[in-house]
Structures are given as C-alpha cells and as structure tokens.
C-alpha cells in the first residue's frame, strides 16, 4: 500500500497562516500577557513547519526549548513586573501610518526581488530518516568545535544571568 502524500502546500499554507496571524497578534494586542500567549502559538507553528521539512528532532527541540522553556521565562518575566501585565499597553505611536506604508513597500520590494532572482539554495537531498543519529554523529565529528563552543556560551549565559539578577545585592 503506497503512502499518498498529503497536500504539503496546503498544510504549509495553514501553518504559515497560523504563524503570521499570531505574530501579528503579538505586536498588536493591548494586554502583554495575551501577546506572550500569541508568541507561544507562533513558536508552535514554527515547530509544525519543521515537521513538514522532515526535521523531527528540531521540531521536538523547538517545542521543548522555545515553547517549554523560553516562553515560560517570558511569562515569568511578565509576571515579575506586575504593573506591566495589567496595564493596557499602546503598541503604536503617531508614526504608525508612515511606518506601515514603509514596511509594505519594503515587503513588496523584497518579494519582487526574490521572484526575479532565484537566490535561495534548493535542498540537495532529502533528510535521512534517522535524524537523531545523523545529528549525533555530525555533532561529534564534523561540528565538534561549535558543539564545545556552545557549552562555553551556556557557561557565559549562566554567569551573566547571575551577575545581572543578583548584581545589586553584592
């Protein structure tokens, strides 16, 4: 029984609509807590796109780290500044119309350029079925230096977080 592929274009369009709508909600809603929730939806949509690209490991990591950890941090920090969460924030100022117009022109120009010059590299071959094993092998062999540098980066992040958060104490 051969597997009939789903209409990938349709599913991609659905995920893209989710991402764009929630991203627009993040920058337009008046209650910052709702903006944080819309961000969560946006990041989950990105995980969906990863699934469509057969990058399952990345999709799971996206959900785990971005939705499960970073968004929790964002929500904690929204709760940390109490008056921020209950105040109605104003997302635009008097330049809103001009800025919107400029963004539209820029977006249209970028799309036109992309259509005329085919600059995106096409995918060479389909991803191997066992993502995780390939990533594991590559991380340890070809990409070992970036892998170790990541740990130094995490160390720096930890130290930085403590210095920033407790700096005023000591």
């Amino acid at each position: 029984m051969e597997a009939v592929q789903p209409n990938v274009g349709f599913v991609f369009g659905l995920f893209a609509a989710i991402i764009i709508t929630s991203a627009l909600l993040v920058v337009t809603l008046k209650n910052i807590f709702h903006c944080a929730l819309a961000l969560i939806v946006c990041l989950t949509g990105v995980a969906g796109i990863f699934v469509l690209l057969h990058a399952e490991f990345l999709a799971a990591v996206q959900v785990l780290i971005y939705v499960g950890a970073v968004s929790v941090l964002i929500i904690f920090s929204v709760m940390l500044t109490s008056n921020l969460a209950s105040r109605r924030i104003v997302q635009t100022n008097q330049n809103a119309l001009v800025a919107g117009f400029a963004a539209l022109i820029f977006g249209a120009g970028a799309l036109l350029l992309l259509k005329l010059h085919d600059i995106w590299p096409k995918a060479g071959s389909a991803l191997p079925d066992d993502n995780v094993m390939t990533i594991g092998k590559l991380l340890m062999t070809d990409y070992m230096l970036p892998f170790e540098v990541v740990s130094v980066l995490m160390l720096a992040a930890m130290i930085g977080a403590i210095v920033l958060a407790r700096g005023e104490r000591s």
Binding site: Q5, P6, I65, V150, A161, I162, R166
Partner: protein
C-alpha cells in the same frame, strides 16, 4: 513519510474536542445565579487583604533561566546518547568536556547562592 503524524493530529483534535465539551457542559448544565459576594476571590471567608498583583520574587526568574540552560544541555546529550556506542571513547571524552563546562556553571550558580532558598 508523515503517516506517524496523523494519529497525533487526531489525538490533539479529540482531546481539544473533549475539553470543549466538558467546558460547554458545565456552562450549560450548571445552575445560574447572580454571583454577588461569591464573586470575590477566596480568602477564608473574610474580605481580601492587599493587592493581588504583587511582583514575583527574582529567584523564580533565576530558576527559569537556569532551567533553559540545563534543558539545552539535555537536548545536546540526547543525540550523543543515541549514537554513543558507535562513537566510543572519543565521543565520551567530548561529551565529558561539554558536561564539565556546564557543571562549572552549575557549581558557580551553587556557590553564588542562586539556587538557594527555593
């Protein structure tokens, strides 16, 4: 290729449907009365004292940051764990370096008291 994902999608939809049915059922079936004093937040029967939106202490924020970083460490350990046997001692030593650097950060946090008092 995507066969394994259809059931998950169906499960998500089914679970959300169940949740909405339950929420809808409670709104439809339950009694309706005017709330009056029942609408106040619960405080053991007395009127609420103090504001409800006190700021959250900083230590929770530090816990969340530490959680992100150590979670990323676990994420990096997973692909290594799957191919550990093929990579042998070479892979183990490189992971050891990775884990050691992260644990240096952990001991620094421990020493500075970031993980103290909850």
């Amino acid at each position: 290729m995507f066969e394994t994902y259809y059931p998950i999608l169906f499960l998500i939809l089914f679970a959300v449907f169940l949740a909405l049915v339950m929420a809808g059922a409670s709104i439809l079936i339950g009694k309706r009365t005017r709330l009056g004093k029942k609408g106040n937040p619960y405080e053991c029967g007395i009127d609420p004292v103090g504001t409800t939106r006190d700021p959250v202490p900083v230590k929770f924020f530090l816990i969340a940051i530490s959680f992100i970083l150590f979670d990323i460490e676990v994420i990096f350990l997973l692909p290594w764990a799957v191919v550990a046997r093929d990579l042998g001692m070479f892979g183990f030593v490189s992971i050891l370096i990775f884990v050691t650097l992260v644990m240096i950060g952990y001991f620094y946090e421990l020493g500075r008291g970031a993980l103290k008092w909850d």
